[in-house]
Symmetry: C2
Subunit: 171 residues, 2 copies
DNA sequence: CCAATTTACTTGGATATCCTATAGTCGGTA
DNA sequence: TACCGACTATAGGATATCCAAGTAAATTGG
């Protein structure tokens, strides 16, 4: 997807870690490496997801939005709730919905009793694209992420505890 | 840092995973959750890093650039090499350097023998800011990431193998 | 030795994210 | 009831990232 295909001769994160240790920051060298590798792995996974979604003219942000709607019980949701569930800023939701609406995948509808609120509803086309894009992600990314099975379980466990501790949700 | 402070009553990633399982995608439910949690943990860590760097008028991207320069042996580097080491697109480096140059932290210098190339050099101010910002990140983020010590080791191990398998570097 | 290719960087355009500020609405309280 | 604070969404502005295309220079091949 990107021009960053250059394979390096050595692991730049391992080198950074050695730099930290060389400066005497031995205590924080490992956490520094962990944080940096989370950043890099996210970058790799995001690029792969975007690649899979490209034929559907979806970005990952847009996919997340229509997937959220397609899995919701009533197939509709307040923008404020979508913002909370996707954990993104309200203005980002506005932006994403603008584009999904322009693409004909989502509709904005007024809320029955609260004139401030906006209901998001998937169009038929939106529903179809959400289903197909999810299938593509399952087949082309999630079926073979590059993590070993045991590692998937560890990542889920470690990151769930981390997110809980960061205040993402109450246990 | 952001307005996403809303604590949810339930873990949205766990809910997504249940949705996947409910649809019969049991094989890919766990990897899907793992990929999604990498995205979310990166978002949390990036926000915390940006918060620490805010007093230095640095974004994380700019910090990474001046940190890279400050740890390099000759305190200077080709833009192309910085792009490869930071694993970002050359145009992103151009953008980052424009801003660092405007802030007086970095200088562009012509390469002695290759007139296409641009050498990046830290200014004295850039060197000072890099040192202080690194100290702040060590004290305020890396010293207490929110990962338990054993988890840090696991994350480093799992993600190093993942990155190697993704072609990030040769072992 | 010159043409074709590759490399290094920049420019312009798109998308996503955040923040600040604002308009309109809802609700509790004096 | 009238007001004021809180909530919902949007507009405008900043930053970061990517891609496509362009410029200039170095390298390679015939």
């Amino acid at each position: 997807m990107s021009k960053r295909a250059t394979e390096l001769s050595r692991d730049p994160i391992a080198e950074a870690r050695r730099n930290w240790e060389r400066h005497g920051w031995t205590e924080v060298a490992a956490p520094m490496a962990a944080v940096t590798s989370v950043m890099r792995v996210q970058q790799i996974l995001l690029a792969r997801a975007q690649e899979v979604l490209k034929p559907f003219r979806l970005t990952f942000a847009r996919y997340e939005m229509i997937a959220l709607l397609s899995f919701s019980r009533e197939k509709q949701m307040l923008m404020s709730k979508a913002s909370a569930l996707l954990q993104v800023h309200p203005t980002s939701v506005t932006n994403t919905v603008d584009r999904l609406e322009a693409a004909g995948l989502v509709e904005r509808r007024p809320h029955a009793s609260d004139r401030r609120a906006v209901l998001l509803v998937l169009t038929d086309e939106g529903r179809r694209v959400a289903t197909e894009a999810t299938q593509a992600l399952n087949d082309e990314l999630f079926a073979d992420t590059g993590f070993e099975a045991a590692d998937v379980a560890l990542v889920n466990d470690i990151f769930t505890r981390f997110r809980a501790r960061s205040g993402d949700f109450s246990l």
